[in-house]
Assembly symmetry: C2
Homo-oligomer: 226 residues x 2
DNA sequence: GTCTATAATCCGATAGAC
DNA sequence: GTCTATCGGATTATAGAC
C-alpha cells in the first residue's frame, strides 16, 4: 500500500532532447486544438521545423499520438496516487475523488483522449504499456473501494460491482459537464459533483422503497412496455 | 400527461421524395461508418448520384448532418414516450429506463451523435428545433422523477438534482460499455445496467455511514490532499 | 435536377540533396 | 537531422453544360 513513488509503475525510457520537445509541443497542440486540429504539418510549424523532420523521431502521426496518450495516463496516475498520502480509507477515498475532479477540470482534452476509441486515434489497438496504465488505475479504484468496505463505510459486496457503479456515475457527470449539458460553471460543478456523489452513497430511493426493492428481482423491475 | 402522439412535439415539415431518400441514406451511412466515414461523396455513391446533386437538396454537409441528428432525437423521443403507456409512476419510470437501454443498444451511433460537440459536426451551434427536442426529453425525465417522489418511491428532494445523479450514472454506464471498458456482452450489459441502477437507488454506503454523512458538509468530505 | 470538370485546400508520407 | 520538392490521396464546394 506504500506506493509513494512512480518508479514501480512507469517504464523508464530515455528520450532524446528533440523527441521530448516534439512531445511537449504535441501535447500543447492536442490540448489546445483537439484531435481534429492535430496534424503533422501544424505540429512541425509549432516546433519550428518542417514536417518531414518529425519522422526522424517518430514513425508517424500514430506514434506521436500514442505518446501524447501515454503522457495523459502518466499525469492522471500521478494525480490519483497523490491521494495515497491521506491517513484513512475514507480520506484516501475522497482525496482520490478530488484528484479525479482536479484532473478532469484541469486537463479536459486529455481526459477526453483517454476515452477515445483507439481507431479514432489511428491505432489498431491500445499499446500494451498504455493498457497496463489503464489497468493500474482500475486496480487503484478497486483498492480504495475494498478498504472502504473493510472500514464499514461502503456496503459489503463485490468491489467490482460497486466500483463500476461509482465509476459510471463519475464519468457520466464529467461527460455531461464537458459537453455543456449541465448549466454550471467550474466551481459549481465541483460542488455538484461532490453532492451527487453523496446522493449515490446514500441512495436516491426512499428507505421504505429501498426495503421493498430487496424482495424484487431485476427482471421484475425491468418490465417490458406493453 | 397524455402525450400519445408526437404531433405536439415535432415540427411537421414536408419533404421532397428525393430529400427523404437522401436523409435515409445519410442515416444509414452515418450509423454504419460513423462521423469520419461520412462524406458527401460516399453519400452520393450510396444514393446512386454524384456529389453535386445533393447540393440541390441540402446546403451542404452540415445541413445533412443536422437532419441526421434531428432524426436521432426524434427516434429517441419515440422510444421514451412509449413508456407513458405504463399504468403507474414506478412502471413508467422503469419502462423509460428500459426504453433508454433499448435505444442505446439498438442505435449506439445515434446516441453517440447526440452527445457529440456541435463544432465537431461542423455546426456553430445546435439548431433551435433540435435544442427543443433536447429540452423535451430532459423535461420527460424530470416528470418521471417527480411523480416517483410523489408516489414515495424516490426521496423527496429537488427533482433536478436527483435527476442529474441518475442521468449521469446511466450515461456513464453507456459510455463505458460502448467504449468496451466493461467486459460484458450486450445481454450482460442489460443486466449490469439494471443492477447498477438498483445500487444507485438503495445507495452504496452502509446504513451507518449514511447516517453519519448527514452531519457532514460536502466541503468536509472534500478535504484537499496534504 | 443531374451531370462533368475542376477549383481550392487539406492531409500523411517519402526521396534525395545538403 | 533538417531541408525542398513532391507524390497520392482525401475532402467540400462550385461553374456551367445538358
Amino acid at each position: 500500500m506504500q506506493l509513494t513513488s512512480d518508479e514501480r509503475l512507469f517504464t523508464v525510457f530515455t528520450m532524446t532532447d528533440q523527441r521530448e520537445r516534439i512531445l511537449n509541443c504535441a501535447c500543447d497542440l492536442y490540448l489546445e486544438h483537439g484531435l481534429d486540429g492535430f496534424s503533422m504539418r501544424k505540429l512541425a510549424k509549432e516546433i519550428g521545423v518542417t514536417a518531414p523532420a518529425i519522422y526522424r523521431h517518430y514513425d508517424g502521426r500514430e506514434a506521436v499520438l500514442a505518446d501524447v496518450l501515454r503522457e495523459a495516463y502518466r499525469t492522471f496516475s500521478r494525480y490519483l496516487y497523490a491521494a495515497l498520502g491521506a491517513p484513512s480509507p475514507l480520506e484516501r477515498f475522497s482525496a482520490a475523488g478530488e484528484q479525479y475532479l482536479n484532473f478532469v477540470i484541469e486537463h479536459p482534452r486529455w481526459y477526453g483522449m483517454m476515452h477515445t476509441a483507439p481507431e479514432h486515434l489511428g491505432m489498431d489497438e491500445i499499446p500494451a504499456d498504455i493498457e497496463a496504465l489503464q489497468m493500474a488505475t482500475h486496480q487503484f479504484w478497486l483498492d480504495r473501494v475494498r478498504e472502504c468496505m473493510e472500514a464499514g463505510i461502503l456496503r459489503e459486496m463485490d468491489p467490482e460491482e460497486s466500483s463500476i457503479t461509482m465509476w459510471a456515475h463519475a464519468h457520466g457527470m464529467v461527460q455531461l459537464f464537458h459537453q455543456g449539458l449541465l448549466p454550471v460553471n467550474e466551481e459549481e460543478f465541483r460542488r455538484l459533483f461532490r453532492e451527487s456523489g453523496m446522493r449515490l452513497m446514500s441512495g436516491v430511493a426512499t428507505p421504505e422503497f429501498g426495503e421493498e426493492m430487496k424482495t424484487m428481482t431485476t427482471e421484475a423491475i425491468a418490465q417490458p412496455i406493453a
